[in-house]
Symmetry: D3
């Protein structure tokens, strides 16, 4: 019962931030590791990312900084750049976050992150997405 509550809260959060990515994720994991998908919904989105105490925009910018700095998660970085825009961050805030990774993680991290942001912005321009 509780379990359902965590899953529902996570799924709601995931849909709010990035519905397309959510469905792709669960489809991709469906045959190989369905429980990993469930943990992402329940734990990552249901437990952590839906906590109060930090506004959704700041959460997404922190995620973008971490993922760009780690440099091994291009597809997750792309997802969270979309999510950041979906919850109301501006393109400028995202670019500032990526530029800042140069200070702590070096220029390659910042450059590769910015290249991904550029592709996301272009895709959204093509789709007529206002942000």
């Amino acid at each position: 019962m509780e379990e359902t509550e965590r899953y529902d809260r996570g799924w709601k959060k995931l849909r709010e931030t990035n519905e397309t990515a959510a469905r792709q994720l669960l489809d991709a994991l469906g045959d190989v590791a369905p429980d990993l998908g469930r943990y992402i919904v329940e734990f990552a989105y249901g437990d952590v990312l839906s906590r109060p105490g930090l506004d959704p925009g700041s959460r997404e910018l922190v995620s973008i900084g971490i993922l760009a700095a780690m440099g091994n998660a291009a597809s997750q970085l792309e997802t969270h750049i979309h999510s950041a825009l979906n919850v109301g961050c501006t393109r400028e805030e995202i670019v500032e976050t990526l530029i800042q990774t140069a200070v702590y993680a070096g220029f390659p991290a910042a450059l590769n992150g910015t290249a991904i942001a550029g592709r996301v912005f272009l895709e959204r321009d093509g789709n007529g997405t206002s942000r």
Copy 2:
């Protein structure tokens, strides 16, 4: 002349966020690599961290997320937890940022970051620092 402007802007920013750390940093580098200290003032603080487009609190939370996730920068993480509090972030926002690193960088990163935050909070309680 421009050079002086960048240094001055960086030094002002550094003092606003963490004057003690600033002096310790420059003293420590003084004999070994004074130019590295100058670059931190001019480039990290003067060029990047003083940019508009992202508020100072969000910049510090992004720094905390990155430094905790990378896991090889305990002393810099301590500095930025102080800085975050100095520019007005709440302890709750810092703890939320650290908990969130568990999702992208694993529990050890989050745990080690939280241990550092615990020490900073205790130190500030001892100093009677309101935040």
Copy 3:
């Protein structure tokens, strides 16, 4: 109710593998980030580490390999070397795992991991722990 079940399952797992570390962890997090401790019990131990499909010894060896390779989690590596011995792994298996990290993550990772293992073995010899 389910929540209690996950916590109980995780706590049981954690006690089986390393009761001292478990209490230290929760004490340390108590004031700063109690929910992070709860997530470790519920998610890390209750959801993941207590899954069937991989025997407890193999799980611990995999954890040791990952933590030694990442190189930013000395305290967690120490904990899992204890845990591996507690669930029945031999010292030889642990040393073999650490030597193997040299191949994928380089000699410094293997050396630093081995130094931690040496300290754990010495501590257990001092305590008269059979393994």
Copy 4:
């Protein structure tokens, strides 16, 4: 002479675990860095991976955990997922190992590793490989 013995032992190990990958590796390095290929055969496979003290299946699971956690070795991870299956690990054990990386290295590492495992499983299904 000894040299030949190490090379032979390594080559035998490499062929047992993954003959196709072995040939591709040596071909690829042939013109650029043939000695790197020789070191992989002699040191990685001849010295380390053929050591007794840890069974071949556990060695492969540890390799998979490390490579997925490091996140910068997609091609080597693919190779070792094949190798793990070749030496008798089950698909379930591999998936469990990958899910476990989420705890220590974060969800992106686990997700990207699982995507690679999914492709390997599909390829082997297509080839009629029983495991």
Copy 5:
């Protein structure tokens, strides 16, 4: 004025080492994060990489070692292999540097770096570039 001097010095350095990469970089960043491109010219090339005290060839070999070891910067590694050859390093020195990364960062880092070097060498053979 000073600012112009730093940019000019950096741009000169960048053109000496790798003019094609320089233009691609600035074009790519143009719309998304032009200031990041400016920082790379001013700070990375104008401040750091044009410092005396270490000869240009050693600087490039150090860059190659770092980028191969970090393993999250394939495109920057490719650029610096070209740059190393442009400033007079031999192919042998580059290959030696990459083999050496195996010792500190593991074989996957060395292998992936060598694969990139192989592509650069082939491309330059095709272009009739003497080195």
Copy 6:
């Protein structure tokens, strides 16, 4: 016989670069993982670091860059700063290498590496070591 040759060549190299560290290393590993010590002598020093094709000073600078950038190998970095000085690198070259890591791996890596260099320089000044 060959085996002896590799060990002898590695041991000679290790003694030339850093005899104290060499003995400490083998002593430390003696009880826990003697074979890891043997591999470091035979493979790291006997096979790789004694290769021709890159001069010993450049090899040490590359090692310093990699170890500082990875940020998880403080003790090995200290050893190689000593070794670099022992084989004839200047303090300036070492500091330049460390400053350069800021570009690719961020300022914390450069700062932590420089702190270690400062301690090594001070220790050698105390010992009256000319470099």
